[in-house]
Symmetry: C2
Subunit: 269 residues, 2 copies
Protein backbone atom coordinates (compact mmCIF):
# COMPACT_ATOMS: atom_id res chain seq x y z
CA UNK A 1 0.00 0.00 0.00
CA UNK A 2 1.50 3.29 -1.11
CA UNK A 3 1.40 6.37 1.10
CA UNK A 4 -0.19 9.43 -0.50
CA UNK A 5 2.92 11.59 -0.09
CA UNK A 6 5.16 8.85 -1.52
CA UNK A 7 2.88 8.89 -4.57
CA UNK A 8 3.17 12.69 -4.74
CA UNK A 9 6.96 12.57 -4.41
CA UNK A 10 7.24 10.01 -7.18
CA UNK A 11 5.22 12.28 -9.44
CA UNK A 12 7.33 15.32 -8.43
CA UNK A 13 10.42 13.40 -9.54
CA UNK A 14 8.85 12.09 -12.75
CA UNK A 15 7.99 15.60 -13.98
CA UNK A 16 10.63 17.66 -12.11
CA UNK A 17 7.82 19.89 -10.93
CA UNK A 18 6.37 21.36 -7.74
CA UNK A 19 3.54 22.98 -9.72
CA UNK A 20 -0.05 22.05 -8.82
CA UNK A 21 -2.50 23.03 -11.55
CA UNK A 22 -5.67 24.46 -10.02
CA UNK A 23 -8.93 23.63 -11.82
CA UNK A 24 -11.26 26.52 -10.92
CA UNK A 25 -13.95 26.75 -13.59
CA UNK A 26 -15.17 30.14 -12.45
CA UNK A 27 -18.27 31.33 -14.28
CA UNK A 28 -16.43 34.43 -15.57
CA UNK A 29 -13.93 32.21 -17.42
CA UNK A 30 -16.44 29.94 -19.15
CA UNK A 31 -17.96 30.22 -22.62
CA UNK A 32 -21.36 29.74 -21.01
CA UNK A 33 -22.43 29.33 -17.41
CA UNK A 34 -23.02 25.56 -17.46
CA UNK A 35 -21.62 22.33 -16.06
CA UNK A 36 -20.73 21.23 -19.60
CA UNK A 37 -18.66 24.40 -20.13
CA UNK A 38 -16.96 23.90 -16.74
CA UNK A 39 -16.09 20.35 -17.72
CA UNK A 40 -14.70 21.38 -21.13
CA UNK A 41 -12.67 24.15 -19.49
CA UNK A 42 -11.07 21.63 -17.11
CA UNK A 43 -10.58 18.81 -19.62
CA UNK A 44 -8.73 21.24 -21.88
CA UNK A 45 -6.52 22.43 -19.01
CA UNK A 46 -5.77 18.85 -17.94
CA UNK A 47 -4.82 17.84 -21.48
CA UNK A 48 -2.56 20.85 -21.99
CA UNK A 49 -0.81 20.97 -18.64
CA UNK A 50 -0.54 17.32 -17.52
CA UNK A 51 3.16 16.94 -18.46
CA UNK A 52 4.11 19.77 -16.08
CA UNK A 53 1.68 19.05 -13.23
CA UNK A 54 2.87 17.45 -10.00
CA UNK A 55 -0.82 17.38 -9.04
CA UNK A 56 -4.20 18.72 -10.11
CA UNK A 57 -6.46 20.57 -7.69
CA UNK A 58 -10.13 20.84 -8.72
CA UNK A 59 -12.11 23.25 -6.56
CA UNK A 60 -15.39 21.62 -5.46
CA UNK A 61 -17.35 24.90 -5.18
CA UNK A 62 -17.19 25.67 -8.91
CA UNK A 63 -18.76 22.29 -9.69
CA UNK A 64 -21.20 22.17 -6.76
CA UNK A 65 -22.72 25.44 -7.97
CA UNK A 66 -24.11 23.50 -10.97
CA UNK A 67 -25.81 20.92 -8.72
CA UNK A 68 -26.08 17.32 -9.95
CA UNK A 69 -24.64 18.15 -13.38
CA UNK A 70 -21.66 19.84 -11.75
CA UNK A 71 -21.05 16.79 -9.64
CA UNK A 72 -20.99 14.57 -12.74
CA UNK A 73 -18.64 17.03 -14.47
CA UNK A 74 -16.28 16.88 -11.49
CA UNK A 75 -16.18 13.09 -11.69
CA UNK A 76 -15.41 13.25 -15.40
CA UNK A 77 -12.57 15.70 -14.74
CA UNK A 78 -11.06 13.34 -12.14
CA UNK A 79 -11.39 10.47 -14.63
CA UNK A 80 -9.65 12.51 -17.32
CA UNK A 81 -6.69 13.04 -14.97
CA UNK A 82 -6.46 9.26 -14.50
CA UNK A 83 -6.51 8.86 -18.30
CA UNK A 84 -3.73 11.44 -18.78
CA UNK A 85 -1.75 9.72 -16.02
CA UNK A 86 -2.04 6.39 -17.86
CA UNK A 87 -0.97 8.03 -21.13
CA UNK A 88 2.08 9.59 -19.45
CA UNK A 89 2.88 6.42 -17.48
CA UNK A 90 3.03 8.45 -14.26
CA UNK A 91 0.19 8.81 -11.78
CA UNK A 92 -0.80 12.48 -11.22
CA UNK A 93 -2.49 12.87 -7.81
CA UNK A 94 -5.82 14.67 -7.54
CA UNK A 95 -6.26 17.02 -4.58
CA UNK A 96 -9.94 17.88 -4.11
CA UNK A 97 -10.07 21.42 -2.76
CA UNK A 98 -13.21 21.13 -0.65
CA UNK A 99 -12.20 22.48 2.79
CA UNK A 100 -14.64 20.12 4.49
CA UNK A 101 -14.80 19.72 8.26
CA UNK A 102 -17.32 17.71 10.27
CA UNK A 103 -17.43 14.92 12.82
CA UNK A 104 -17.99 11.15 13.12
CA UNK A 105 -20.37 9.63 10.58
CA UNK A 106 -20.70 12.96 8.72
CA UNK A 107 -16.93 13.15 8.21
CA UNK A 108 -16.98 9.52 7.07
CA UNK A 109 -19.59 10.39 4.45
CA UNK A 110 -17.48 13.32 3.19
CA UNK A 111 -14.41 11.06 3.03
CA UNK A 112 -16.35 8.46 1.09
CA UNK A 113 -17.62 11.15 -1.26
CA UNK A 114 -14.13 12.54 -1.97
CA UNK A 115 -12.15 9.33 -2.13
CA UNK A 116 -14.61 6.69 -3.35
CA UNK A 117 -17.40 8.45 -5.28
CA UNK A 118 -15.13 11.05 -6.89
CA UNK A 119 -11.83 9.14 -6.86
CA UNK A 120 -9.68 11.95 -5.43
CA UNK A 121 -6.37 11.05 -3.78
CA UNK A 122 -6.32 13.89 -1.28
CA UNK A 123 -8.66 16.55 0.12
CA UNK A 124 -8.26 19.92 1.83
CA UNK A 125 -9.82 20.07 5.32
CA UNK A 126 -10.61 22.69 7.95
CA UNK A 127 -9.12 21.88 11.40
CA UNK A 128 -11.57 23.85 13.60
CA UNK A 129 -13.38 20.72 14.85
CA UNK A 130 -10.16 18.97 15.93
CA UNK A 131 -8.58 15.55 15.65
CA UNK A 132 -11.69 13.37 15.43
CA UNK A 133 -12.89 15.42 12.44
CA UNK A 134 -9.65 14.58 10.57
CA UNK A 135 -9.29 10.87 11.36
CA UNK A 136 -12.02 9.53 9.04
CA UNK A 137 -9.98 11.00 6.16
CA UNK A 138 -6.55 9.71 7.26
CA UNK A 139 -7.39 6.10 8.15
CA UNK A 140 -6.24 4.94 4.73
CA UNK A 141 -2.61 6.04 4.23
CA UNK A 142 -3.05 5.91 0.45
CA UNK A 143 -5.24 8.98 0.77
CA UNK A 144 -3.93 12.32 2.01
CA UNK A 145 -5.20 15.56 3.52
CA UNK A 146 -3.99 19.16 3.64
CA UNK A 147 -5.25 21.01 6.74
CA UNK A 148 -5.89 24.74 6.52
CA UNK A 149 -3.18 26.37 8.61
CA UNK A 150 -2.34 29.92 7.47
CA UNK A 151 -4.19 31.41 4.54
CA UNK A 152 -3.41 34.67 2.73
CA UNK A 153 -6.82 36.39 2.72
CA UNK A 154 -7.41 39.53 4.83
CA UNK A 155 -9.68 37.66 7.27
CA UNK A 156 -6.98 35.10 8.05
CA UNK A 157 -5.88 37.35 10.91
CA UNK A 158 -9.29 37.07 12.63
CA UNK A 159 -8.62 33.58 13.98
CA UNK A 160 -5.34 32.23 12.59
CA UNK A 161 -3.12 35.03 13.95
CA UNK A 162 -4.49 35.30 17.48
CA UNK A 163 -1.95 34.37 20.14
CA UNK A 164 -2.83 31.10 21.84
CA UNK A 165 -1.65 29.81 25.20
CA UNK A 166 0.43 32.98 25.51
CA UNK A 167 2.99 31.56 23.15
CA UNK A 168 2.27 31.36 19.41
CA UNK A 169 -0.24 32.24 16.72
CA UNK A 170 -3.14 29.81 16.34
CA UNK A 171 -1.85 28.71 12.92
CA UNK A 172 1.39 27.50 14.53
CA UNK A 173 -0.65 25.59 17.13
CA UNK A 174 -2.47 23.93 14.20
CA UNK A 175 0.89 23.05 12.61
CA UNK A 176 2.02 21.42 15.86
CA UNK A 177 -1.23 19.47 16.13
CA UNK A 178 -0.84 18.27 12.53
CA UNK A 179 2.68 17.12 13.35
CA UNK A 180 1.30 15.15 16.34
CA UNK A 181 -1.68 13.74 14.44
CA UNK A 182 0.42 12.54 11.51
CA UNK A 183 0.74 8.91 12.66
CA UNK A 184 0.20 7.53 9.14
CA UNK A 185 2.35 10.14 7.35
CA UNK A 186 -0.51 11.45 5.21
CA UNK A 187 -1.17 14.94 6.62
CA UNK A 188 0.04 18.17 4.99
CA UNK A 189 -0.70 21.87 5.64
CA UNK A 190 -2.06 24.80 3.65
CA UNK A 191 0.26 27.79 4.16
CA UNK A 192 -0.07 30.75 1.78
CA UNK A 193 3.04 31.44 -0.31
CA UNK A 194 2.69 35.15 0.44
CA UNK A 195 3.02 34.46 4.19
CA UNK A 196 6.81 34.40 4.61
CA UNK A 197 6.95 34.53 8.41
CA UNK A 198 4.30 31.81 8.61
CA UNK A 199 6.23 29.60 6.17
CA UNK A 200 9.29 29.83 8.42
CA UNK A 201 7.39 29.21 11.65
CA UNK A 202 5.36 26.34 10.25
CA UNK A 203 8.43 24.73 8.66
CA UNK A 204 10.16 24.87 12.05
CA UNK A 205 7.11 23.34 13.77
CA UNK A 206 6.59 20.65 11.13
CA UNK A 207 9.99 19.92 9.53
CA UNK A 208 8.79 17.11 7.25
CA UNK A 209 5.21 17.91 6.33
CA UNK A 210 4.22 18.87 2.79
CA UNK A 211 2.78 22.36 2.32
CA UNK A 212 0.18 23.40 -0.22
CA UNK A 213 1.05 27.06 -0.79
CA UNK A 214 -1.21 29.15 -3.01
CA UNK A 215 -0.29 32.70 -3.96
CA UNK A 216 2.14 32.38 -6.84
CA UNK A 217 0.83 34.21 -9.91
CA UNK A 218 -2.40 36.09 -9.24
CA UNK A 219 -1.53 36.96 -5.64
CA UNK A 220 2.06 37.89 -6.52
CA UNK A 221 4.03 35.79 -4.03
CA UNK A 222 7.76 36.11 -4.45
CA UNK A 223 8.74 32.63 -5.51
CA UNK A 224 12.32 32.26 -4.33
CA UNK A 225 11.59 33.84 -0.93
CA UNK A 226 8.66 31.45 -0.40
CA UNK A 227 10.67 28.41 -1.48
CA UNK A 228 13.61 29.37 0.69
CA UNK A 229 11.36 29.35 3.75
CA UNK A 230 9.03 26.52 2.83
CA UNK A 231 11.21 23.85 1.18
CA UNK A 232 12.41 20.91 3.20
CA UNK A 233 16.08 20.05 3.30
CA UNK A 234 15.52 17.48 0.52
CA UNK A 235 14.36 20.24 -1.85
CA UNK A 236 10.76 18.97 -1.78
CA UNK A 237 7.88 19.60 0.63
CA UNK A 238 6.05 22.49 -1.00
CA UNK A 239 3.46 22.28 -3.73
CA UNK A 240 2.56 25.52 -5.50
CA UNK A 241 -0.98 25.71 -6.87
CA UNK A 242 -1.65 28.11 -9.74
CA UNK A 243 -5.08 28.52 -11.36
CA UNK A 244 -5.76 31.74 -13.25
CA UNK A 245 -2.05 32.27 -14.02
CA UNK A 246 -2.36 29.21 -16.25
CA UNK A 247 -6.02 29.07 -17.33
CA UNK A 248 -6.09 32.72 -18.47
CA UNK A 249 -2.78 32.52 -20.36
CA UNK A 250 -2.92 32.62 -24.15
CA UNK A 251 -1.10 29.27 -24.16
CA UNK A 252 -1.80 27.34 -20.92
CA UNK A 253 0.66 24.54 -21.81
CA UNK A 254 3.45 27.05 -22.23
CA UNK A 255 2.46 28.97 -19.07
CA UNK A 256 2.57 25.72 -17.06
CA UNK A 257 5.93 24.72 -18.56
CA UNK A 258 7.38 28.14 -17.75
CA UNK A 259 6.05 28.07 -14.18
CA UNK A 260 7.46 24.57 -13.71
CA UNK A 261 10.88 25.82 -14.86
CA UNK A 262 10.76 29.02 -12.80
CA UNK A 263 10.01 26.99 -9.68
CA UNK A 264 12.76 24.52 -10.51
CA UNK A 265 15.29 27.31 -11.01
CA UNK A 266 14.23 29.01 -7.80
CA UNK A 267 14.73 25.83 -5.77
CA UNK A 268 18.34 25.82 -6.93
CA UNK A 269 19.11 29.37 -5.81
Amino acid sequence: MENFFSLLEKRVEDCSSLLCVGLDPHGADLNENSAAAAQDFCLNLVRQTAPYAAAFKPNAAFFEVFGAEGWLALRHVVESIAAESARLGSKIPVILDAKRGDISSTAQAYAQSAFESLGADCVTLNPYLGKDSIEPFTQNAEKGVFLLCKTSNPGAADLQDVTVNGAMPLYEHVARLAQQWNARGNIGLVVGATQLDALSRVRAAAPNLWFLSPGVGAQGAELSAALKRGLRKDGKGILLPVSRGISRAADPARAAAELRDQILNSTQN
Copy 2:
Protein backbone atom coordinates in the same frame (compact mmCIF):
# COMPACT_ATOMS: atom_id res chain seq x y z
CA MET B 1 -37.25 42.09 2.41
CA GLU B 2 -37.50 39.80 5.41
CA ASN B 3 -34.50 39.03 7.59
CA PHE B 4 -33.71 35.32 8.01
CA PHE B 5 -34.05 35.37 11.79
CA SER B 6 -37.38 37.26 11.58
CA LEU B 7 -38.57 34.44 9.34
CA LEU B 8 -37.32 31.87 11.87
CA GLU B 9 -38.97 33.71 14.77
CA LYS B 10 -42.28 33.85 12.95
CA ARG B 11 -42.11 30.08 12.41
CA VAL B 12 -41.14 29.52 16.07
CA GLU B 13 -44.30 31.41 17.07
CA ASP B 14 -46.52 29.67 14.52
CA CYS B 15 -45.64 26.19 15.80
CA SER B 16 -44.66 27.01 19.42
CA SER B 17 -41.48 25.08 18.84
CA LEU B 18 -37.70 25.47 19.15
CA LEU B 19 -37.19 22.01 17.65
CA CYS B 20 -35.10 21.73 14.47
CA VAL B 21 -35.60 18.39 12.73
CA GLY B 22 -32.28 17.07 11.40
CA LEU B 23 -32.42 15.21 8.09
CA ASP B 24 -29.40 12.86 8.21
CA PRO B 25 -30.05 9.98 5.84
CA HIS B 26 -27.19 7.89 7.19
CA GLY B 27 -26.57 4.69 5.22
CA ALA B 28 -27.23 2.55 8.30
CA ASP B 29 -30.78 3.93 8.57
CA LEU B 30 -31.81 3.39 4.94
CA ASN B 31 -33.63 0.45 3.37
CA GLU B 32 -30.92 0.38 0.72
CA ASN B 33 -27.77 2.45 0.25
CA SER B 34 -29.03 4.73 -2.53
CA ALA B 35 -29.95 8.34 -3.20
CA ALA B 36 -33.56 7.26 -3.78
CA ALA B 37 -33.71 5.64 -0.34
CA ALA B 38 -32.12 8.75 1.25
CA GLN B 39 -34.75 10.90 -0.43
CA ASP B 40 -37.62 8.67 0.68
CA PHE B 41 -36.26 8.64 4.23
CA CYS B 42 -36.22 12.45 4.31
CA LEU B 43 -39.54 13.01 2.53
CA ASN B 44 -41.22 10.74 5.07
CA LEU B 45 -39.61 12.59 7.99
CA VAL B 46 -40.60 15.97 6.55
CA ARG B 47 -44.22 14.87 6.07
CA GLN B 48 -44.52 13.43 9.56
CA THR B 49 -42.73 16.12 11.56
CA ALA B 50 -43.47 19.38 9.70
CA PRO B 51 -46.18 20.58 12.14
CA TYR B 52 -43.67 20.50 15.02
CA ALA B 53 -40.56 21.74 13.18
CA ALA B 54 -39.31 25.30 13.69
CA ALA B 55 -36.77 24.44 10.97
CA PHE B 56 -35.40 21.50 9.00
CA LYS B 57 -31.66 20.82 8.80
CA PRO B 58 -30.56 18.52 5.97
CA ASN B 59 -26.93 17.40 6.28
CA ALA B 60 -25.13 17.85 2.95
CA ALA B 61 -22.62 15.01 3.49
CA PHE B 62 -25.26 12.27 3.46
CA PHE B 63 -26.47 13.43 0.05
CA GLU B 64 -23.06 14.33 -1.41
CA VAL B 65 -21.93 10.75 -0.78
CA PHE B 66 -24.34 9.67 -3.54
CA GLY B 67 -22.80 12.08 -6.07
CA ALA B 68 -25.06 13.65 -8.70
CA GLU B 69 -28.09 11.58 -7.64
CA GLY B 70 -27.61 12.65 -4.04
CA TRP B 71 -27.52 16.27 -5.08
CA LEU B 72 -30.85 15.87 -6.93
CA ALA B 73 -32.33 14.11 -3.90
CA LEU B 74 -31.27 17.00 -1.67
CA ARG B 75 -33.01 19.47 -3.95
CA HIS B 76 -36.17 17.40 -3.88
CA VAL B 77 -36.05 17.30 -0.09
CA VAL B 78 -35.76 21.12 0.07
CA GLU B 79 -38.67 21.40 -2.38
CA SER B 80 -40.77 19.07 -0.22
CA ILE B 81 -40.20 21.35 2.76
CA ALA B 82 -41.49 24.29 0.70
CA ALA B 83 -44.55 22.20 -0.22
CA GLU B 84 -45.25 21.30 3.43
CA SER B 85 -44.80 24.97 4.36
CA ALA B 86 -47.42 25.96 1.78
CA ARG B 87 -49.80 23.27 3.05
CA LEU B 88 -49.38 24.50 6.65
CA GLY B 89 -49.53 28.17 5.63
CA SER B 90 -46.30 28.84 7.55
CA LYS B 91 -42.84 28.97 6.00
CA ILE B 92 -40.45 26.43 7.60
CA PRO B 93 -36.84 27.58 7.11
CA VAL B 94 -34.25 25.16 5.70
CA ILE B 95 -30.79 25.21 7.31
CA LEU B 96 -28.29 23.43 5.08
CA ASP B 97 -25.75 21.81 7.38
CA ALA B 98 -22.70 22.01 5.14
CA LYS B 99 -19.99 23.63 7.32
CA ARG B 100 -18.43 25.29 4.28
CA GLY B 101 -15.60 27.80 4.56
CA ASP B 102 -13.63 29.38 1.73
CA ILE B 103 -12.74 32.79 0.34
CA SER B 104 -13.75 35.31 -2.34
CA SER B 105 -15.16 33.80 -5.54
CA THR B 106 -15.09 30.29 -4.06
CA ALA B 107 -17.25 31.37 -1.12
CA GLN B 108 -19.58 33.10 -3.61
CA ALA B 109 -19.95 29.83 -5.51
CA TYR B 110 -20.78 27.94 -2.30
CA ALA B 111 -23.33 30.63 -1.36
CA GLN B 112 -24.93 30.40 -4.79
CA SER B 113 -25.03 26.62 -4.50
CA ALA B 114 -26.71 26.66 -1.07
CA PHE B 115 -29.14 29.54 -1.54
CA GLU B 116 -29.92 29.58 -5.27
CA SER B 117 -29.33 26.07 -6.65
CA LEU B 118 -30.63 24.24 -3.58
CA GLY B 119 -33.00 26.88 -2.21
CA ALA B 120 -31.82 26.73 1.41
CA ASP B 121 -32.56 29.70 3.70
CA CYS B 122 -29.50 29.33 5.91
CA VAL B 123 -26.19 27.45 5.96
CA THR B 124 -23.71 26.37 8.63
CA LEU B 125 -20.19 27.78 8.11
CA ASN B 126 -16.71 27.30 9.56
CA PRO B 127 -15.12 30.58 10.79
CA TYR B 128 -11.41 29.59 10.50
CA LEU B 129 -10.83 31.75 7.38
CA GLY B 130 -12.28 34.92 8.97
CA LYS B 131 -14.66 37.69 8.03
CA ASP B 132 -14.18 37.76 4.26
CA SER B 133 -15.08 34.06 4.09
CA ILE B 134 -18.45 34.80 5.74
CA GLU B 135 -19.51 37.94 3.88
CA PRO B 136 -20.50 36.32 0.56
CA PHE B 137 -23.14 34.38 2.56
CA THR B 138 -24.48 37.31 4.57
CA GLN B 139 -24.84 39.96 1.87
CA ASN B 140 -28.51 39.10 1.47
CA ALA B 141 -30.25 39.54 4.86
CA GLU B 142 -33.01 37.12 3.80
CA LYS B 143 -30.44 34.34 4.06
CA GLY B 144 -28.77 33.39 7.34
CA VAL B 145 -25.68 31.60 8.60
CA PHE B 146 -24.73 29.73 11.75
CA LEU B 147 -20.98 29.87 12.44
CA LEU B 148 -19.32 26.95 14.22
CA CYS B 149 -18.39 28.24 17.65
CA LYS B 150 -18.24 25.46 20.29
CA THR B 151 -18.97 21.90 19.28
CA SER B 152 -19.42 18.89 21.57
CA ASN B 153 -17.07 16.33 19.99
CA PRO B 154 -13.89 15.27 21.85
CA GLY B 155 -11.63 17.11 19.34
CA ALA B 156 -13.40 20.41 19.98
CA ALA B 157 -10.82 21.10 22.70
CA ASP B 158 -7.93 20.96 20.19
CA LEU B 159 -8.64 24.43 18.80
CA GLN B 160 -11.86 25.82 20.27
CA ASP B 161 -10.78 25.65 23.92
CA VAL B 162 -7.25 27.08 23.63
CA THR B 163 -6.83 30.39 25.46
CA VAL B 164 -6.43 33.30 23.06
CA ASN B 165 -4.95 36.71 23.74
CA GLY B 166 -4.44 35.62 27.34
CA ALA B 167 -8.10 36.13 28.08
CA MET B 168 -10.68 33.69 26.74
CA PRO B 169 -11.18 30.42 24.89
CA LEU B 170 -11.03 30.65 21.10
CA TYR B 171 -14.75 29.83 20.84
CA GLU B 172 -15.60 32.95 22.87
CA HIS B 173 -13.37 35.01 20.57
CA VAL B 174 -15.41 33.59 17.65
CA ALA B 175 -18.64 34.59 19.42
CA ARG B 176 -17.35 38.15 19.85
CA LEU B 177 -16.32 38.31 16.19
CA ALA B 178 -19.78 37.06 15.14
CA GLN B 179 -21.35 39.77 17.28
CA GLN B 180 -19.16 42.39 15.50
CA TRP B 181 -19.72 40.98 12.02
CA ASN B 182 -23.51 40.83 12.41
CA ALA B 183 -24.24 44.12 10.62
CA ARG B 184 -27.25 42.68 8.76
CA GLY B 185 -28.62 40.69 11.70
CA ASN B 186 -28.34 37.32 9.95
CA ILE B 187 -25.52 35.56 11.84
CA GLY B 188 -26.06 32.86 14.48
CA LEU B 189 -23.71 30.46 16.29
CA VAL B 190 -23.39 26.69 16.70
CA VAL B 191 -22.92 25.92 20.42
CA GLY B 192 -23.39 22.31 21.58
CA ALA B 193 -26.27 21.83 24.06
CA THR B 194 -23.98 19.63 26.18
CA GLN B 195 -21.54 22.54 26.65
CA LEU B 196 -23.12 24.37 29.59
CA ASP B 197 -20.19 26.68 30.40
CA ALA B 198 -19.85 27.56 26.75
CA LEU B 199 -23.57 28.34 26.47
CA SER B 200 -23.25 30.81 29.36
CA ARG B 201 -20.07 32.45 28.05
CA VAL B 202 -21.33 32.71 24.47
CA ARG B 203 -24.71 34.07 25.59
CA ALA B 204 -22.88 36.77 27.59
CA ALA B 205 -20.68 37.63 24.58
CA ALA B 206 -23.56 37.61 22.08
CA PRO B 207 -26.75 38.49 23.98
CA ASN B 208 -29.05 38.53 20.96
CA LEU B 209 -27.69 35.96 18.52
CA TRP B 210 -29.54 32.74 17.77
CA PHE B 211 -27.78 29.49 18.71
CA LEU B 212 -28.05 26.17 16.92
CA SER B 213 -27.42 23.71 19.75
CA PRO B 214 -27.18 20.01 18.89
CA GLY B 215 -26.92 17.39 21.63
CA VAL B 216 -30.47 16.82 22.82
CA GLY B 217 -31.42 13.16 22.41
CA ALA B 218 -28.53 10.98 21.17
CA GLN B 219 -25.85 12.98 23.00
CA GLY B 220 -27.92 13.25 26.17
CA ALA B 221 -27.83 16.99 26.82
CA GLU B 222 -29.87 18.05 29.83
CA LEU B 223 -32.58 20.13 28.26
CA SER B 224 -33.58 22.57 30.99
CA ALA B 225 -29.96 23.28 31.99
CA ALA B 226 -29.08 24.04 28.36
CA LEU B 227 -32.14 26.25 27.87
CA LYS B 228 -31.51 28.14 31.10
CA ARG B 229 -28.07 29.12 29.86
CA GLY B 230 -28.76 29.53 26.15
CA LEU B 231 -32.18 31.19 25.93
CA ARG B 232 -32.41 34.92 25.37
CA LYS B 233 -34.48 37.06 27.68
CA ASP B 234 -37.38 36.87 25.21
CA GLY B 235 -37.53 33.06 25.61
CA LYS B 236 -36.23 32.51 22.09
CA GLY B 237 -32.70 32.40 20.65
CA ILE B 238 -31.89 28.71 20.75
CA LEU B 239 -32.80 26.12 18.15
CA LEU B 240 -32.41 22.46 19.16
CA PRO B 241 -31.65 20.07 16.31
CA VAL B 242 -32.57 16.41 16.80
CA SER B 243 -31.97 13.75 14.14
CA ARG B 244 -31.78 10.12 15.26
CA GLY B 245 -33.97 10.79 18.32
CA ILE B 246 -36.78 11.37 15.82
CA SER B 247 -35.87 9.32 12.74
CA ARG B 248 -35.24 6.12 14.71
CA ALA B 249 -38.40 6.46 16.83
CA ALA B 250 -41.21 3.99 16.16
CA ASP B 251 -43.46 6.99 15.50
CA PRO B 252 -41.42 10.00 14.31
CA ALA B 253 -44.42 12.35 14.36
CA ARG B 254 -45.12 11.51 17.98
CA ALA B 255 -41.42 11.76 18.91
CA ALA B 256 -41.24 15.22 17.33
CA ALA B 257 -44.46 16.35 19.06
CA GLU B 258 -43.17 15.13 22.42
CA LEU B 259 -39.81 16.83 21.95
CA ARG B 260 -41.53 20.06 20.96
CA ASP B 261 -43.60 19.88 24.15
CA GLN B 262 -40.66 18.94 26.38
CA ILE B 263 -38.71 21.92 25.09
CA LEU B 264 -41.70 24.21 25.53
CA ASN B 265 -42.21 23.03 29.14
CA SER B 266 -38.51 23.45 29.89
CA THR B 267 -38.49 27.04 28.65
CA GLN B 268 -41.15 27.82 31.23
CA ASN B 269 -39.16 26.44 34.16
